[in-house]
């Protein structure tokens, strides 16, 4: 009994620390921006960082909590991004309040991403391991390809959609193209703000952390740890897998809308395999199944190339080397033991990872 109470307290404490870090970070960032101590290039990174944090946390739900490798997470971001942009430009006159318009766009982007998540998840989750990974990769590429041939414009008659070329839709005078096939979405009204990003991160954390400590969350983790055992005690494997996957897709959709509405143009190519991989790197480096780790890794690794700017052309090379060295240092038995002997700090860190880290295949 005592042990149980202690455990609940520990998880709540851990959650509070996670929320605390995000709030503290937000306050520091706001302070730096207000006093003008932040470089403009870094300031421009703030909304993308928020979007990537949400992406990393949501992918961690699939990879860490559900234990399935997804290589197409950027596809859901893409769905959210472009549907968000379309909604935002359509409602420009109806909803004049920018934050409200952003919220509505993000909500619809997330819902559409969730629907696509169901469409992808139902077939994909029947497969296992690397086969599931390749199917998510394939869906990500298909989504990118399809967005590339969609043309959307709107005029006084409402939204018009066409395929393959801009000529497929006839707009009246005063009409506006929203989505231009391979040219992407152009002339976006930039309504995303750092505050909106902060709110989205908090909402994401509330959803994911509560899910993890709920009955459904435990069922999802049971499926991850031993599918057959979970099934034999009456847990519906398909239901819980799909639940985690769809929530993850919806969160990615929110992040996509936030991301896209921060730029004046966005192309489908932005959300390709490389972006999926980038987010996966955040998740793995932050610790699989460790939500706080995902947040920190996403923020640090998005800023890192910026900080390495002084090395100019060499920065991405250095980034690659750092990535390889971290993976070897944290996973090689010999080096791990060596570090454990020397560094007390690192010892603590690896222990934490063992406790919280899932066993993704």
């Amino acid at each position: 009994m005592m042990k149980g109470i202690k455990k609940i307290k520990k998880s709540t404490r851990s959650n509070i620390i996670t929320y605390g870090i995000v709030v503290l970070f937000f306050i520091i960032v706001q302070f730096l921006v207000m006093t003008g101590r932040m470089s403009s290039s870094l300031r421009g990174q703030l909304v993308p960082i928020a979007a990537y944090i949400v992406m990393a946390v949501s992918l961690n739900l699939t990879v860490g909590i559900l234990g399935e490798l997804s290589l197409g997470h950027a596809g859901f971001m893409s769905v959210g991004a472009f549907s968000g942009v379309i909604v935002a430009s359509t409602l420009q006159d109806q909803i004049t309040n920018a934050p409200l318009r952003l919220a509505v766009s993000m909500l619809i982007g997330g819902i559409l991403a969730a629907i696509v998540g169901v469409i992808v998840g139902v077939p994909a989750l029947r497969l296992r391991g690397d086969y599931l990974a390749i199917v998510t990769l394939a869906f990500g590429e298909i989504i990118k390809n399809i967005v590339n041939v969609i043309y959307v414009g709107f005029d006084s008659n409402g939204l018009q959609m066409g395929l393959n070329s801009a000529k497929s839709i006839q707009l009246e005078d005063g009409g506006k193209m929203v989505l231009n096939g391979p040219m992407g979405a152009v002339g976006i009204n930039r309504i995303s703000t750092v505050t909106a990003g902060f709110v989205l991160i908090i909402i994401t954390l509330i959803i994911v952390l509560n899910l993890m400590h709920s009955r459904s969350g435990r069922a999802i983790m049971a499926v991850r740890d031993n599918r057959i055992a979970a099934e034999s005690v009456g847990i519906s494997v398909t239901k819980y897998k799909l639940m985690a996957f769809v929530i993850s897709a919806a969160l990615a959709g929110f992040a996509g809308a936030l991301y896209a509405l921060n730029f004046s143009t966005v192309v489908a190519k932005k959300f390709d395999f490389n972006t999926s991989i980038l987010v996966l790197v955040f998740v793995v480096l932050g610790g699989i199944g460790n939500i706080r780790g995902s947040i920190i890794a996403a923020a640090v690794l998005t800023v890192l190339p910026e900080l390495l700017r002084q090395f100019n052309d060499y920065r991405m090379l250095i980034y690659a080397i750092i990535l390889i060295l971290i993976m070897i240092a944290t996973n090689n038995e010999k080096i791990k033991n060596f570090i454990n002997k020397i560094g007390f700090m690192l010892d603590l860190k690896t222990k934490n990872n063992v406790n919280k880290g899932g066993t993704a295949k």
């Binding site: 199917v135 399809i146 793995v284 690659a320 080397i321 390889i324």
Partner: protein
Amino acid sequence: MDFILHLINGISLGSIYAIIALGYTMVYGIAKMLNFAHGDVIMVGGYISFVVTANLGLPPAVAIVAAVAVCTALGVIIEKLAYKPLRAAPSLAVLITAIGVSYFLQNAALLIWSSNPKSYSSMFSFEPLRLFNNRLSITSVTIVTVVTGIVVMAALTLIISKTKMGKAMRAVSEDKDAAQLMGIGVNKTISITFAIGSGLAAIAGVLLASAYPIIMPTMGSMPGIKAFTAAVFGGIGSVPGAMLGGILLGVIEIIGRAYISSELSDAIVFSVLIIVLLVKPTGLLGKKINEKV
């Protein structure tokens, strides 16, 4: 007649995919890892052959040998430095390391050769083959690609089924520990697998650059993904599967591009992959894995 031409082009592209996919599938079979840096080894092969012919002015044959030699060495070095320390690590950690290696190769190429695309002159510049009173003309690159594909596949099948090395490879992919107990040098076998895979990637790089004559630091990533898809399509870990998957993928891509939509050709390829995996969850020729409770 058009259809036959598309089919031949498809087989040609498919042969390139198959050669790349063989590298993926052999490494996967033996080291159980997805080597995402494989696509970038193709790029290195393309650039080395380019440098040898365009900058040093040597004949194409030398260029091909140099590309294969450099890539083989590169593959072995990558394995030794980046993957060997992670033999016992979880597969996701190895996957991220492979991605790190991929970033490294791309950015190293970017520094050495800059991001500007370079135009590549084909290594095989003899007369195209004309059939049926010039109604069907097959380019030299296509012929060389298909022939190379057949030779590589035949040679690899022979190596794997007949030689002692091939036997060792099969044993290691079946059960690493048991193979070691039988006196097989596991590390050596893995190195040789990487060497063969990377050598094949160099050949694929030369063929790819000759067929689509532009090279740039990111040229390997899309063919790499496609070849990975091909390997999974045929059943990852299976050598005949990679060949079949590669060729089918190439044919589907070219036919899809010609008759359905050029913008959606990738989407068609990936849709076919998904449908196949839904019917056969471990690919066309993949082994069915039985789960133990």
